[in-house]
């Protein structure tokens, strides 16, 4: 048994970590938060040049074809660095949807420009409050034209193309939903950025008015594709969350070692030590669940839906737990704008909601465990 990443994959992690430490210090995250640019273009370009955007894209479509385990490794580093780039939307959602359901022409057109950093993609799924469900999708598609509003859409205001979930039937079944690919430069599509708790990432509203769109995948198969994409993205995003959780834990640990109060490092007080030990427990449980998710994702195992939900829940809890208690360990300084703690706190609470909330994934996990139990 080798329930671990390979030496090559660990080397890739080191490379990515080093690159991000240099090109994506907290200053770079703060530049995007400060509104200097909607995302870090130089970093995005650099990631493309390093070949990091296309590790799970086959060579035939311009990627390096390394695979999903490699993508997991990179995702963790992106989370650790709070990379202010449209990585998750483009790589986990749009590229995966194309790989699962795209026509040859669609893959030829979009995957190489994703890998080269020349196109940002996203999945336009949500329509206001609520979790992923076929019933929640009202945006209508008829005659190849879309009408409706999507929000929030991650990176919607900076995307070059969007994969849009639309209603093409009214039977009340999953097969009422189909996917469409929309070029964001097309007529009848308008995106605007929305204020959100983590301004290092873009959130948008996209209004479609009689907008021309091409189908992605077969008519009526939209929901089944979305379900697969969400499971894959859940594992990948969980790795980002674990990366963020680990970094928040390290920040708390380092501060506890350096900060003196009552004549001793605060890390010598059990109240602080135990808080950090509990953060370590959360992060370790999450990492282990993520490894199982990575195995299921990379082998396309039947266990993926259950493994993805477990990884997602565990990683959401761990990142939220570590980010909030990192602030607590820092005390007053942790609540200042100047310290980086709030950057992790913001990201932890924002990523907890992308792809559906914690309770959505809890519900999904129990459903999937029951199915396995009954089988």
């Amino acid at each position: 048994m080798n329930f671990d990443f390979s030496d090559e994959q660990k080397q890739l992690r080191d490379t990515a970590r080093k690159f991000l430490a240099e090109k994506c210090p907290p200053k770079a995250v703060r530049a995007v938060i400060g509104g200097k640019a909607p995302y870090d273009r130089d970093l995005w370009k650099g990631l493309a040049e390093m070949g990091l955007l296309g590790v799970a894209i086959p060579e035939a479509y311009g990627g390096t074809g390394a695979g999903h385990l490699e993508l997991c490794v990179i995702a963790e580093e992106m989370g650790r660095a709070l990379a202010p780039v449209p990585f998750s939307s483009t790589v986990y959602l749009a590229a995966e949807a194309l790989l699962i359901a795209g026509s040859e022409a669609q893959k030829q057109k979009w995957l190489p420009v994703i890998a080269s950093g020349d196109a940002i993609g996203t999945l336009a799924l949500f329509e206001g409050k609520g979790n992923p469900s076929p019933q929640a999708i009202k945006l209508a598609a008829s005659g190849g034209k879309l009408d409706g509003v999507k929000k929030p859409v991650a990176d919607g205001a900076i995307a070059d193309f969007a994969i849009v979930a639309a209603r093409t039937g009214s039977t009340g079944r999953e097969t009422d939903i189909s996917l469409f690919l929309v070029d964001m430069k097309a007529d009848g599509v308008e995106a605007k950025a929305l204020a959100n708790i983590d301004p290092s990432r873009n959130q948008a509203e996209i209004v479609f008015k009689n907008c021309k769109a091409e189908p992605l995948g077969a008519l009526g198969e939209g929901w089944s594709i979305i379900a697969q994409v969400l499971d894959r993205a859940a594992v990948l995003l969980a790795f980002e969350q674990v990366g963020g959780a680990d970094r928040a834990l390290e920040m708390g640990r380092d501060y506890a070692l350096d900060r003196i109060a009552f004549g001793r490092p605060i890390g010598s007080f059990q109240a602080i030590k135990h808080m950090l030990a509990d953060m370590y427990v959360s992060a370790t449980l999450a990492r282990s669940n993520c490894y199982y998710g990575a195995w299921a994702l990379s082998t396309n195992a039947g266990e993926l839906p259950e493994a993805a939900a477990a990884a997602r829940i565990s990683a959401t809890q761990a990142f939220q737990h570590c980010a909030k208690n990192n602030i607590q360990v820092h005390g007053g300084m942790g609540f200042t704008w100047e310290f980086d703690c709030h950057l992790y706190y913001r990201r932890a609470n924002a990523t907890a909601l992308s792809l559906g909330s914690l309770s959505y994934w809890e519900d999904a996990l129990i459903d999937r465990m029951r199915k396995r139990n009954a089988a």
């Binding site: 048994m1 080798n2 329930f3 671990d4 990443f5 390979s6 385990l69 834990l249 640990r253 506890a256 070692l257 001793r264 490092p265 890390g267 010598s268 059990q270 602080i272 030590k273 135990h274 950090l276 030990a277 509990d278 370590y280 427990v281 370790t284 449980l285 999450a286 282990s288 669940n289 490894y291 199982y292 990575a294 195995w295 990379s298 939900a309 477990a310 829940i313 565990s314 809890q317 309770s359 994934w361 809890e362 519900d363 996990l365 129990i366 465990m369 029951r370 139990n373």
Partner: protein, 415 residues
Amino acid sequence: MNFDDTPQEAAFRAEAKAWIAANAPKQYEEELKNSSLGRAVLKGANVLDVAKAWQKKKADAGWACLHWPKEYGGRGASPIERVIWQQEEGAFGKLSSTFIIGHGMCGPTVMAYASEEHKRRYLPPLASGEDIWCQLFSEPAGGSDVAGLRTRAEKRGDEWVINGQKIWTSGAHYSDYGILLTRTDPAVPKHKGLTMFFLSMKSPGIEIRPIKQGNGNSDFNEVYFTDVKIPDSQRLGAVNDGWNVSLTTLMNERMSIGGGMATGFSELFEFCNNLMLEDGLAIDDRGVRSKLAHWAVRASGLKYTSMRAISALSKGERPGPENSIGKLVAGSMIQDISAYAMDLQGAAGVLSGPEDAEVAGKFQAMLLRAPGTRIEGGTDEIMRNIIAERVLGLPGDIRVDKDVPFNQIPTKGRS
């Protein structure tokens, strides 16, 4: 990333599987499978007898204490082979709980510190289960603060004379031998005046009294020593170096991995999958599902953390103190899960008789036993200290008694 055995591991697994299939006491398999928590209970058979018989059979065929050297009754197997054996032994492994302390803690300490003659004499019958060993460390005045123990050992000629009291000794009443940590010099700071011995539990002057626990059971004992004599040849390590010797023992306790701590999750899942509430099956309730999911990922997280440690073993690496999370997580889980399972039953959750209670009162029994799980073998707080200090590298506690002679340390709080 894969779950596949190496060819060598696969061959070992096949051999173990075949031997177990041909030799295990299959008549008890079902009962052992169902006894998920605490000591196994068998109807119409004495567990201790069944456990000893199985252990002896394993030892005769070279399957006992796999990682020990052959000359001491083991197999000289690699750590990963030991894990593979545990996986294959499955429910029959629950019979080993009687020997855990002897094999996991006493044996390695004897191996590290006893004379060659003693090792060859005492270790093989310990491996084969013919002799059962216990560990005599904790005292009324020394729990988490083990080094605060007060049991005296005084040298008289070639012998040591022991007086004092130990507590929380598992299995003392059926043990043949024990390892004993004593105070040999009370005039020096506490860690520097301790000495370790092993002794026969049949020695004159030993009195063993069962402790009645808060849950009504008696799994542990108090052991009283009155002028008990131990030959100096049964000293383990140097005089006054007992603290370092005890660290060997405790380190080995934490090296035992792959066994899998009980969390109560599979019992709760099964229960919720069958329990009818006013408006349907418990597992269809949104609140119930949220709780279940919360515990599900902790249970799976523990499972895969242990697989990561096994993987490290397989590569010849030594798993770190990360394994301390197992007991810390499982202890609270079992407590919270049992309380929740009872909560789902409303007022009737209070009933614990097998005829009235759901699942024959298993959850009520779990609830009452759980506080002990969070204390024994290192309290939750000690586990958090270990993680904080050894994994995260935070400073140790400031110890106000560190440089104070033991006999000058205050013994009373508020008077």
